[in-house]
């Protein structure tokens, strides 16, 4: 993998509008049964503008940014050898339906460990005012020939 990737910042992906039904669909997929995830009235009673997305929902937005990294011509990442190593989400506030969010990817680390390469990339996700909502951090392991 190309070590020069470290510090590279990619172009923001086009804004993602969080839909209520998408939140519900994702919630069902991760076995989330809280009324906050499904019922706008329950979410409203708890002080949210609309249904609240589960904690891992930001992966939906992050996906498009990681695709940029994998498609980068000089990255040298063989997708068929990529394994998800670590994942983290750091929120300033929960995502709710109606949010329009923009994600920007940057590569924070490239390491080689025992024949495998590891790349850590973070996607900073902000609202239309530029206020931080969540940072999604992924470490991808690219398996070497023997791994």
């Amino acid at each position: 993998m190309n070590p020069d990737l470290v510090g590279r910042v990619f172009a923001p992906v086009s804004p993602y509008l969080v839909g209520r039904e998408k939140v519900r669909e994702f919630a069902r997929a991760v076995f989330a049964t809280s009324p906050l995830n499904h019922d706008p009235a329950a979410a409203s009673a708890a002080g949210y503008a609309d249904v609240v997305a589960p904690p891992t929902f930001a992966v939906v937005l992050q996906e498009a940014t990681l695709a940029q990294l994998l498609a980068e011509p000089d990255a040298g990442i063989d997708f068929s050898r990529v394994v998800h190593g670590e994942q983290r989400f750091s929120y300033t506030r929960p995502i709710v339906a109606g949010d329009e969010l923009t994600a920007t990817l940057s590569v924070t680390s490239v390491k080689t460990l025992g024949g495998n390469a590891m790349v850590t990339a973070e996607s900073v996700i902000v609202d239309p005012q530029g206020s931080h909502v969540v940072t999604a951090i992924s470490t991808l392991v690219v398996r070497g020939d023997d791994a």
Partner: protein, 155 residues
């Protein structure tokens, strides 16, 4: 659609936001425990909801061709499911403001038997209006997520 399947929960903990008093939390307290039954249906549903259509999560032939012991659950599905007992324990008393895991072992989902994933959520650190909840996530008696920690912020 078989949505009622999603409500299968083995936990005995109800939504407890009426009774949750975070000031009474102590390190080591188990705040939630639950077993989830993942099936191939769960994987297809998660693929659609997340947009991750890697065929190792639904095609036995593709999984075998890359040397896997079977079709695997998406790591992000396991991660997403594992935090739900914490979300339900919190109710409206707080929210998950930070959540991270390492993917240490794959979860193989048998076409007939599925896979049973058990989550135990325990208080790791108590802070000022916050707590770190440590998750032990096991499948076949082995942990599948490492350093699975959810930082919760109380309202």
């Amino acid at each position: 659609m078989n949505l009622d399947k999603l409500d299968h929960r083995d936990d005995k903990l109800d939504h407890r936001d009426d009774t949750l008093d975070h000031r009474a939390l102590a390190v080591g307290d188990v705040v939630a425990e639950r077993t989830f039954s993942l099936t191939r249906d769960s994987l297809v549903r998660y693929a659609g909801a997340s947009g991750d259509f890697n065929p190792i999560h639904y095609r036995d032939d593709v999984a075998a061709s890359v040397g896997l012991p079977g079709v695997l659950a998406h790591g992000m599905l396991t991660m997403g499911v594992a935090v739900q007992p914490v979300v339900d324990w919190l109710g409206t008393a707080g929210w998950v403001s930070d959540y991270g895991v390492r993917f240490t072992r794959p979860v193989v989902v048998d076409p007939l038997e599925g896979a049973s994933v058990t989550v135990v959520a325990k208080v790791g650190v108590v802070g000022e209006g916050t707590a770190r909840i440590d998750l032990t996530v096991t499948y076949n008696n082995e942990t599948v997520l490492g350093k699975a920690q959810a930082q919760v912020t109380f309202n």
